[in-house]
């Protein structure tokens, strides 16, 4: 199956450590060392997580600087949130039509001998 860009973003965020890294980068750029500090894992493990995040387009690293701080690409992160919101809005639109329909039809299923319209149940 072809992995589309959005799937890479979602998959990158499927891991709790990576979500945590993203949340911390939202506050500002940080180096790999700074990012690794709170975790009980090796620098390599954190680098591995960053590689996945980079592959998804969520974070970038300056290539030539000594510190090579990690930077969150807020646009990509926002875009994903927007896609979820759009999906949700489509469901809401659908359900609003269902609201209208529910209002328009009688409570009881129409039978051969249907009760008078508006009769109390």
């Amino acid at each position: 199956m072809v992995v589309d860009p959005l799937s890479r973003v979602f998959s990158a965020l499927a891991d709790p450590t990576r979500r945590d890294i993203v949340a911390r980068l939202a506050a500002g750029d940080a180096t790999v060392n700074e990012l690794a500090e709170p975790y009980d894992v090796t620098l390599q493990a954190v680098s591995q997580h960053l590689k996945v995040l980079e592959g998804s387009g969520l974070v970038t690293r300056t290539r030539d600087a000594q510190r090579r701080p990690v930077h969150l690409e807020a646009e990509v992160f926002d875009l994903m949130t927007k896609w979820i919101e759009r999906y949700r809005r489509e469901a809401e639109e659908r359900y609003r039509r269902l609201d209208d329909l529910l209002e328009a039809i009688p409570d009881e299923e129409p039978k051969a001998q249907r009760p008078r319209r508006g009769a109390p149940r």
Binding site: M1, V3, D4, P5, L6, S7, V9, F10, S11, L13, A14, P16, R19, G57, T60, E73, E75, V76, L79, T81, W83, I84, E85, R86, Y87, R88, R89, E90, A91, E92, E93, R94, Y95, R97, L98, D99, D100, L101, L102, E103, I105, D107, E109
Partner: protein, 163 residues
């Protein structure tokens, strides 16, 4: 990730490839259920606004099956699945496949919860077998805007990787 503003809540689970949508209705469970069970009613509200829906088959019973088509201009999208378990006013368990991706299948569970006073909470959970498939669902909305959406994302990611 949870978002909600106008009644419909969505939960995109980070650990399991599922999407859960919750919504309350000003109608008793029997009635909300009927809007799913009766094809003449179902066709009136399901599907995106910009498309017309045609139901080819709606054999609404346990072990039954369905097929419908959403059409817009020159674009048609077919969907089919089986009704795995149906309990009136309580539960629908069904499969769901977009025919453009015939190997992909979602397991859907619709729970109709009686809130009393003629109100119902509908919880709709779609589970697929990979995050990629789940995200394709969310990303595409399954029917509309797929191409332009991916184009936008591709453009954005292309700019990023160009650095």
């Amino acid at each position: 990730m949870n978002t909600s503003t106008d009644g419909t809540e969505i939960m995109v689970d980070p650990d399991v490839p599922l999407v859960r949508i919750t919504r309350e209705f000003e109608a008793p469970p029997e009635k909300v259920f009927r809007a799913h069970a009766d094809p003449d009613l179902f066709v009136q509200w399901n599907g995106p606004r910009s498309t017309t829906m045609r139901i080819d088959r709606h054999d609404f019973r346990t072990s039954g099956s369905y097929r419908y088509v959403h059409a817009r201009d020159d674009f048609e999208a077919g969907f089919n699945g089986c009704f795995h378990e149906i309990r009136p006013a309580e539960l629908i368990v069904q499969t769901f496949t977009y025919e453009g991706m015939p190997d992909g299948v979602a397991l859907e569970k619709l729970v109709f919860e009686d809130l009393g006073n003629g109100r119902t909470r509908l919880t709709s959970t779609s589970l697929v077998d990979s995050f990629a498939d789940r995200d394709a669902f969310v990303a595409s909305g399954m029917e509309v805007g797929v191409r332009e959406g991916y184009q936008r994302l591709d453009e954005l990611l292309a700019v990023d990787s160009g650095r």
